[in-house]
């Protein structure tokens, strides 16, 4: 089976063709560099995504805190990761990079704060 992947590692956006047979990669064509090669293989065999969302924060300027997974997680786990954020509430102050949820949905990645939140007078 052939899959065409547009590489996102740099603006060159190489179009890479990956052939997979019986679950293993047979060939990879069209990549411009090592990063692209790795990206294409992973994208076809075990695609991963960084998940960015928000959680409730109390006492800051805004009611929501932007958060992200500390590393890409399997694409199939995106729903679960977002679900795991349901009901999560943090209190200001929050530091950028602070872990909000550890090992979210068993992916090994944490969910971390994307920015500082200072406590604000109401």
């Amino acid at each position: 089976m052939l899959s065409d992947v547009v590489c996102v590692r740099c603006p060159r956006s190489c179009l890479i063709r990956v052939a997979v047979e019986e679950g293993s990669v047979k060939s990879v064509e069209g990549y411009g560099c090592r990063l692209g090669f790795e990206y294409a293989v992973e994208e076809v065999t075990n695609p991963k995504r960084t998940v960015c969302s928000t959680v409730r924060v109390v006492g800051g300027r805004y009611p929501r805190l932007p958060v992200r997974t500390s590393e890409p997680v399997p694409k199939s786990k995106i729903r679960e990761v977002v679900e795991a954020l349901r009901g999560v509430t943090v209190k200001a102050p929050v530091r950028r990079g602070e872990v909000i949820v550890r090992n979210v949905a068993g992916t090994g990645a944490d969910v971390v704060a994307e920015m500082d939140v200072e406590p604000e007078a109401a």
């Binding site: 928000t54 409730r56 109390v58 009611p63 929501r64 954020l85 349901r86 009901g87 509430t89």
Partner: protein
Amino acid sequence: MGLEKKVRKVLERYSGYNLSCEIRDGVVFLYGRVRSYEEWVEIGLEVGRIKGVEGVVNKIVWDGYPAEKVREREERRRRIFEENKGRVVGSYDVVVIGGGVTGTAIARELSRYQLRIALLEKAPDVATGATKANNGMIHAGVEPPRSTLKRKLNVKGCRMYERWARELNFKYKRVGSLWLITPRTLEKYRRFLPGPLYTLVLKYVLPYIVVLKGIINGVRGLRVVRGRKIFEMEPYAARDALAAVFVPWTAIVDPYEVAVALAENAAANGVEIFTSTEVVGFLKEGDTIKGVVTNRGVFLCRYVVNAAGVYADEIAEMAGSPEYTIHPRKGVLVLFHRSTGSYVRHCLAEIILPPPPRTKGGGINPTPHGNVMWGPTAVEVPDKEDVSVDPEEVQLVLTKHSTILSEFPRDRVIRYFAGVRAATFTEDFVIRPAKWVRNLLHVAGIQSPGLASAPAIAEYAVQKLREMGLELREKPSFNPLREPIPSLRDMEPEQAEELIRRDPRWGHVVCECELVTEAEIVEAIRRGARTVDAVKRRTRAGMGECQGGRCLIKVAMILSRELGVPLPEVLKEEAPLFDGYVRGEAW
């Protein structure tokens, strides 16, 4: 009677349809069925034109008549009537129905006297109907036919505006209008005016005919302008303008600001204003109204003023004195960015005779804040609430009026909108005591020049009430002055400094396009604004280039805070802006 014969003669012209009529005290009731809505309008207008007809109630139906909707509406009213007919809100001398510029003006006028007055408005704010959706022109009164009531009240009202502006402190600029006469003016008659005669008539005859019309109508001061003077007055006027008539009385206002100011002053002088209050019926004893039934309960009263705009005919019918039918006429207006204000100094129009049917006049106007408005159009629509704009209509406006100016940045459109005129079939104001109800005053059919006539309409209406037996005892505590909401935009830095020191919110700019501060928004809310649009009308927040893209959320947050209402419940006008919380997580 001669009248019936004349009406039948008109109806006979529509052979193929089985139309009938009934005449009662000068009011013609029409019955039957026609194919199209256009015919329904046409027949009504034809009958309305007959001399002696005091009103046309057009009960003819057309293919596509929304019978189901009408039934639902009546059912709904009946239900609300039953739920509320036993609950008394209060007892008043006068109940004014309708919070547009007409109703608020009458209420304010009545507040000069020792009377208990209630003003009822069905929307959450005043000025949400035609009052907010017109071009803000205070016409001088040259255009209406001489024998009409609207002519009389327009000329008078226009002259009263300056005093209103001083007392009520709304923005008012007497810019004057310039009516251009160009090679297109008498195009339809060109074949009767061969060769150089055409231009001669345009330059030396027509302008004076216009001036004469003005004099006949009671408007003084019109001046003929020719040649270079035209361009001294209006640098971007069409290069082929042959002559122009200058009308010095014409002025511009923000029409919703006028109504808001009237309402605030009326309230300050004791008028009780009830918004979100819809009239669903009346309690009567014989031919006298005892109470006005609304979704809030019953307002007992001695007199009722029907200033309900496009709904005036429905109110009249509910009260038992149906004397006219409103045929809604939509008008589209196109608004340009403030940077275009340098292109226009006066209200401008190109005289085209006869007036083209779809746009019926209109032109290019500056606004008090430096924007420019083109339009309006005029299209008969069956739905009273149809304020939709067809992109082709926008193009129509841009094309039609493009001959007025030699240069104009037409790509700087920031908004277009529509309003619906409350036109009756007699095409004149109907300000008279009801024929079949003792204590009801009609103030209906207030289409253009309604805004310009408002001060005179208010006086006239009060006079009519006096004639109907309402005793008017002056209130010594009446205060005609209303303070405006100050605006940072109009201040010098030193003034701003002073205000910021007293209240830091004067230094927090919320709407960057129009320079509106948090303090102004809070003040608007304090004065009764409960929705984003109400705040917008009072402060201009959201009226700029980005149309609220940047300030909407901030205004909504301030409303949420000041009214103690969760953000998803903040209303734009009648509907909430947002739909719940992300993941249902409230805060």
